[in-house]
């Protein structure tokens, strides 16, 4: 069984956020981690590897330094790593990103693709489902449990106050929630092995069935109007009233501000 896992290197919020002049993130200048939803997806793939002897390939799109997150994945137990990096791919929104990743994945054999539900920097949750559309395969998102049954997957999909159980034939794509599992730690030996492993590096030229007009900042339908760090607000107004009085007070304030 062959599993492809898409992972993303994202800023570690502990380190502070830095922006380029065009509003995109200056990723090279920030502390980074593996996106938590993706890590859960990777752990899910590794558990399937433990159970069914699957081969796990991790794919990431990013700056050359995104290679670190592939090494981390291999140190956890992934078999192969692919880095998709190219100047022309930079500044991509979810459309261009999913086009890029689909273009890369078309080079690989897979029964299952697992992506994280969403990345903590973009928070859109679009890329996983978009990839499945580009590749013409079914997608089950918000997975909180994954099982294999013959040539199909059976997935519990998280919903508001319940979950759905869906079955899909492979090849298909699943997006994983951070709550899906408790990811394993890397092992010290695994780290040194990971740095000895060969990472496949692909650029624009390796992408299959993708047009230039769909790549990079230029190929992104979403344009960033403005980006800034969180503005610290003042302490606000503090009032001590009983419950009934508080409700009246709040309603008055909301009316004054034309919220209601």
């Amino acid at each position: 069984m062959k599993i492809v896992v898409c992972i993303k290197q994202v800023p570690d919020t502990k380190g502070g956020v830095k922006f380029n002049p065009d509003g995109t993130l200056d990723r090279g200048a920030m502390l980074t981690i593996m996106n938590p939803d993706d890590k859960a997806g990777l752990e899910a793939a590794l558990r399937l590897k433990d159970k069914y002897d699957a081969e796990v390939t991790v794919v990431t799109m990013g700056l050359p330094k995104a290679e670190e997150v592939l090494r981390e994945a291999i140190a956890m137990g992934a078999d192969k790593g692919v880095l998709v990096t190219d100047r022309v791919l930079g500044g991509a929104d979810t459309w261009a990103t999913s086009q890029t990743l689909a273009g890369a994945i078309r080079n690989l054999e897979y029964d299952l693709i697992i992506t994280g539900r969403q990345a903590i920097d973009g928070d859109t949750a679009q890329v996983g489902p978009q990839i499945s559309e580009h590749l013409g395969i079914p997608v089950i998102s918000y997975a909180q449990k994954i099982e294999i049954e013959g040539d199909s997957v059976i997935v519990e999909r998280q919903f508001d106050d319940r979950y759905h159980v869906l079955k899909a034939k492979m090849p298909c794509l699943i997006t994983a929630l951070a709550e899906l599992n408790e990811p394993r730690y890397m092992t010290p030996g695994g780290i040194f092995d990971a740095y000895n492993a060969e990472i496949t590096v692909w650029g624009r030229a390796n992408l299959v069935n993708v047009e230039d007009s769909n790549l990079g900042l230029k190929g992104s339908p979403t344009q960033i109007a403005k980006a800034s760090d969180k503005v610290r607000k003042g302490a606000g107004e503090k009032v001590n009233l009983d419950a009934a009085e508080s409700v009246d007070y709040i309603i008055d304030k909301l009316k004054v501000k034309h919220v209601i």
Partner: protein, 384 residues
């Protein structure tokens, strides 16, 4: 000479730090208060491969270098001195001698489960009458047919009652030298917990590393197979000394971690604590003390890493190990004491980590060779 850590070592540090913050730190205070051995943490460390870091892969270990191992003990000790010493004693004092002196059979039988963390290791040299004077051993081992029979006791044994495999030293003979002086011949043995005649005595109540299981081991006609002799008969003292050289690097890493942890806490505290209308970190007295502490911690780190590198590349590294242990332990004591002082009254309160770190630091100047012993080793080499 490259002072920069490789990407692999940096990533290893990230791993150890993450594990320490997530799994070890939340329990540190409770482990200290209740004096309960953190068995759950040991199991998690086993799963992550932390109990066999420098053991070769073919024996179930991670196949990493001594530096990676030292960094693991360092990061664990930054948040919990107890957890650091558990790993150090198990790895340096039990896995290492079996790796260095064991037969292939002994390695397969004992080293593999130890490195995988399926079993925990310990080292029994110290006796009531034999601390710094290790030659003052009284525990005896006599060969009777196919068995060695052990009689005697060991005290202050780390991982005491929690371990499964013990490297034990005992007197197996006496020789007379040319001057007519008699000298004991000491040998090393591998003893399994549960062997009839092997029991436990007092659990020690300690000042610090209170979660560490420190016990007296008692051997009463304890019979072990002939095959459990470790290394050559009569060469046990050399085995003990060589093993302690490696152990000193582990303890130096523990001391380093305690000092770093205390310094980090103190830096955070002095930024927040306000007196006379400003943070106490604004006072130059505080700043200069922190600068001195940070400089000593840096120096200690370099000595510890150098000793670890020496172990990787040299056959003999006694001096490097002694130097690192001597300095790191004294820095740990000094830095943790200053940390308590800079916390003022709060530094004396058990909710604040620094008081535990100060209590934990003291033992690093004593065990695996007191600071006095380290000075003997270093000056001995200088004056040869």
């Amino acid at each position: 000479m490259d002072f920069m850590l490789s990407k692999q070592h940096e990533m290893a540090r990230t791993l150890f730090k993450e594990f320490a913050e997530k799994e070890v730190k939340p329990l540190a205070q409770e482990v200290d208060e209740t004096e309960v051995f953190p068995r759950g943490t040991v199991e998690k460390m086993a799963k992550a491969g932390f109990l066999g870091i420098p053991v070769p892969k073919e024996y179930g270990g991670q196949g990493c270098d001594p530096l990676t191992y030292a960094m693991c003990v360092e990061e664990l000790s930054k948040v919990c001195g107890t957890t650091g010493v558990i790993v150090s004693a198990h790895t340096s004092l039990c896995c290492d001698p079996i790796m260095t002196y064991g037969t292939e059979e002994q390695k397969q039988k004992y080293l593999v489960p130890l490195a995988k963390g399926e079993k925990l290791g310990a080292f029994g040299l110290t006796e009531p009458g034999a601390g710094t004077d290790a030659q003052g051993q009284q525990t005896k081992a006599v060969l009777e047919g196919d068995e060695w029979v052990l009689n005697g006791s060991k005290i202050f044994i780390t991982n005491g009652k929690e371990a499964d495999v013990y490297v034990i030293f005992a007197v197996t003979g006496v020789v007379t030298d040319k001057k007519g002086r008699s000298k004991k011949l000491i040998s090393a043995f591998i003893v399994e917990k549960g062997t009839p005649g092997f029991t436990f005595g007092t659990k020690e109540k300690k000042m610090g590393i209170r979660g560490s299981s420190t016990y007296e081991l008692i051997f009463t006609d304890c019979r072990i197979p002939k095959e459990n002799l470790l290394g050559q008969e009569g060469k046990g003292f050399g085995i003990a000394m060589h093993t302690l050289d490696g152990g000193r690097i582990g303890i130096a890493a523990q001391a380093l971690g305690l000092a770093e942890g205390a310094l980090d806490r103190t830096v955070e505290y002095v930024k927040e604590r306000k007196q006379f209308g400003r943070a106490i970190g604004a006072f130059q007295n505080t700043q200069f003390q922190l600068a001195d502490m940070a400089t000593k911690v840096q120096a200690a780190q370099l000595l510890v890493y150098k000793a670890a590198m020496a172990k990787a590349t040299q056959k003999v590294y006694s001096i490097e190990a002694a130097t690192a242990k001597l300095y790191a332990a004294e820095v740990a004591m000094e830095v943790t004491t200053k940390a308590v002082q800079l916390h003022g009254g709060y530094g004396y309160i058990r909710e604040y980590d620094v008081e535990r770190m100060m209590r934990d630091a003291k033992i690093t100047e004593i065990y695996e060779g007191t600071s006095e012993v380290q000075r003997m080793v270093i000056s001995g080499a200088l004056l040869k």
